[in-house]
């Protein structure tokens, strides 16, 4: 992995902001999409801003309040963007954005997508309960790459950076080589990215030194954690019954769906009258066992949603962050997603790979015919 290295005197955040400033000036970008702490400081929000607002932005917020892909989609979904936008977000958010663009819910053409090494994020509800505390914890977690503090879903995330073994397909990735002078590296993944780096005069062929080794080590760590989590969850989540236990406390509020970056439907099928039966059907259904959970759709919704979006699931954890019943939605989904994605060797957020459900290959999946 090669890239361009900057040696900032005042740290990562400043370096990135300077870079963005340059990008706006030299790569004729008109607006930036960045996370900001909100006016009362109890959470973060996305803002589309001009250069002068750059200072207040927070490059790596401790939480993902709204997945950046949703923000980007809401800007570019209706009406061609007349301005060029640079958007900085976490790898999972950038990948979701690319997924959405494949699903025509997001237009990346006018967008320079920039991702950065992500140390993970903190649970949203914890932050809202006590911002200062969580802020400190996050600093620590980010500095030490401490996996204990961050969200469970982040602990098992292995696409948090951009190396040969695992990568994020944003136009530009901001890497954090941990040399003494903690220099910042900029890796370009696309022609658009290369062009931008050129314009702002950042080289692209420098060796990134031991950064890569360190990251690979962490990736292995995370992969292991993921494996472990998969084993654990296998205990719970195999077969419908145990699945129903796992989602037993689900109240069918469907917040997981509405905060999910890749659940893009206006009206979820499982939230529509299309899944309603006539009363007598419910009675019949109940009579078979003498009793039934009502509403009956909880499982239908969860499994149905899985079939709809799991191939595109980037494991951003928004669903788990928002679940009022503290269900491990994200962990379960992203494990399940592994399986479905493996079927097609599909990695959501990888450019030019068509969404599996849009294409087919006559020779594939024979094993499912018998």
């Amino acid at each position: 992995m090669k890239g361009g290295i900057l040696n900032p005197d005042n740290g990562f955040e400043a370096a990135v902001k300077n870079f963005l400033k340059d990008v706006m000036e030299k790569a004729d970008i008109d607006a930036l999409l960045l996370p900001f702490k909100n006016a009362v400081g109890d959470s973060f929000e996305w803002r589309l801003v001009t250069a002068d607002k750059l200072a207040e932005a927070s490059v790596v917020p401790p939480v993902i309040a709204v997945n950046g892909a949703r923000a980007l989609s809401s800007i570019t979904r209706s009406g061609k963007s007349a301005m060029k936008i640079a958007a900085l977000m976490r790898p999972c958010e950038a990948r979701a954005a690319i997924e959405l663009s494949k699903l025509n819910q997001c237009d990346l053409e006018p967008v320079v997508l920039i991702s950065m090494d992500c140390p993970g994020a903190m649970p949203l509800q914890d932050y809202i309960a006590d911002p200062e505390k969580v802020e400190k914890e996050f600093e620590h977690a980010a500095r030490e790459w401490n996996n204990e503090l961050i969200r469970p879903i982040c602990r098992m995330c292995d696409i948090f950076t951009c190396t040969e073994s695992t990568w994020c397909d944003a136009d530009i990735h901001v890497a954090l080589p941990e040399t003494e002078n903690n220099a910042v590296a900029f890796i370009s993944n696309t022609d658009k990215g290369r062009e931008v780096l050129e314009k702002v005069g950042i080289g692209r062929e420098e060796e990134l030194g031991d950064w890569q080794k360190k990251m690979n080590a962490r990736i292995e760590e995370r992969k292991a954690a993921r494996k472990k989590a998969r084993e654990e969850l296998k205990q719970h989540v195999t077969g419908l019954n145990s699945l129903s236990d796992t989602f037993g406390s689900c109240i069918n509020c469907q917040v997981c769906r509405s905060v999910c970056p890749v659940c893009y439907c206006r009206q979820c099928l499982f939230n529509s009258v299309k899944v309603h039966y006539a009363p007598d059907d419910y009675l019949l259904q109940a009579e078979s066992k003498g009793t039934m959970k009502f509403t009956p759709d909880t499982l239908l919704f969860q499994t149905g949603r899985m079939t709809h979006m799991s191939v595109s699931c980037v494991g951003c954890g928004a669903c788990e962050d928002c679940c009022p019943m503290d269900i491990k939605v994200a962990q379960i989904f992203s494990i399940a997603a592994d399986e479905t994605q493996k079927l097609f060797d599909y990695i959501p957020g990888k450019r030019d790979a068509p969404p599996p459900l849009r294409v087919y290959n006559e020779q594939e999946l024979k094993e499912y015919e018998t």
């Binding site: 607006a31 909100n38 006016a39 009362v40 109890d42 959470s43 929000e45 996305w46 803002r47 589309l48 801003v49 001009t50 607002k53 309040a65 709204v66 949703r70 923000a71 809401s74 800007i75 570019t76 979904r77 209706s78 009406g79 061609k80 007349a82 301005m83 949203l124 509800q125 809202i128 309960a129 037993g248 406390s249 109240i251 069918n252 509020c253 469907q254 917040v255 509405s258 905060v259 206006r266 009206q267 009258v273 309603h276 009363p279 007598d280 419910y282 009675l283 109940a286 009579e287 066992k289 003498g290 009793t291 039934m292 959970k293 009502f294 509403t295 909880t298 928002c322 009022p324 019943m325």
Partner: protein, 372 residues
Amino acid sequence: MMPQVITIKKSAEEGIKEFCKVLLQSKKVAGVLALTRKNRSAYYSLVTDPAKMDETTPLAPVMPANAATLLSRLTWEEGPPQPIAAVVRPCEERAFIERIKLQQGTFKNLYIISMTCGGVFPLKLLAQGEIENNLPQYYASLNKAETVENIRDVCKGCVHFIPCNADFTIDMLGRNNDSECAMVVNTDRGEELIKGIEYSIEKRDTPLLRGHEDKKMKGLIEHREKVGEQFYGEYHFGEPGMAGLSSALYKCVGCHSCSRACPICYCNLCNFNSEQHDTRFSKFASQLRKSGSVRVPPDTMLFHIGRLNHVSISCVGCGMCEDVCPVNIPLGTLFSEISKALQSIFDYVSGKNPDEDIPVSTFEEEELTQVQ
């Protein structure tokens, strides 16, 4: 009519289960909708087998969903083919009546069993498995007809804890129901239903169910009136320039959970999710030119004020919105207090009287002239 009272030598919860069993056994009803709580999970169950009533916990002080929404589905569209009984809380019953007015359900073949309500615990408590530990103090305060600790904020400010249209009501407030409970038969159809059921049924002309005029109840209502306003004040809603509202809404993630959990939000597709409200890029651009900074996704304010405008006339203050909000916005307080103020101008109480039209669906020529 001379109110009948069914007395059951069991605790209130067991009593209700017993009663529902009898209804099922005697084929008076084909099914019973009642709450079931198992440690961290709670959900409504549709029970057809009397034996299965034992698994339910009709009085569990939690609300996984406002049953009104479920009742709509159970009575869709001409009502169930055979009678069904449902054990619901007053605010659920009131919400259902509002939904009936909106053509989203019917009382046909549906019997409502309710109770004077002590409120419910927030879902968080349920998720953390804390309900068990809280039950003793719950019933203790109930017996004293006092507000229970750590129930939902809206419940603490709720003045509609006496059901108005239930066919059967168990009086829970200010009464010890541990060993014997009494169920009041409020309606003719209720009386009709229990005909021929051998049970210690006494008739009495002084209603056993305490009404709003009862001194204890009055006291509680007055107290709660204040509490509600106090909450509203604490969040500084009503401060000039919507300052309170904005500061509460900054953290909104736009998940619209509140509207999905709301028993009054009955729309198929919310207007604010429809393409009529998609923000065109040009809007972002012009906003950016104006202020140099635009919040994304936009229209958070529009959604909440718009929803207020749509539902507050029918809001029953059940607090589901607040409970499902992933970022703890005090929506319950906001909506219930505003709806109180709003309904008063039409002297309308949502869900109180099934024969009353929702004010927005009708009009009177001589009214509201001050608005002009």
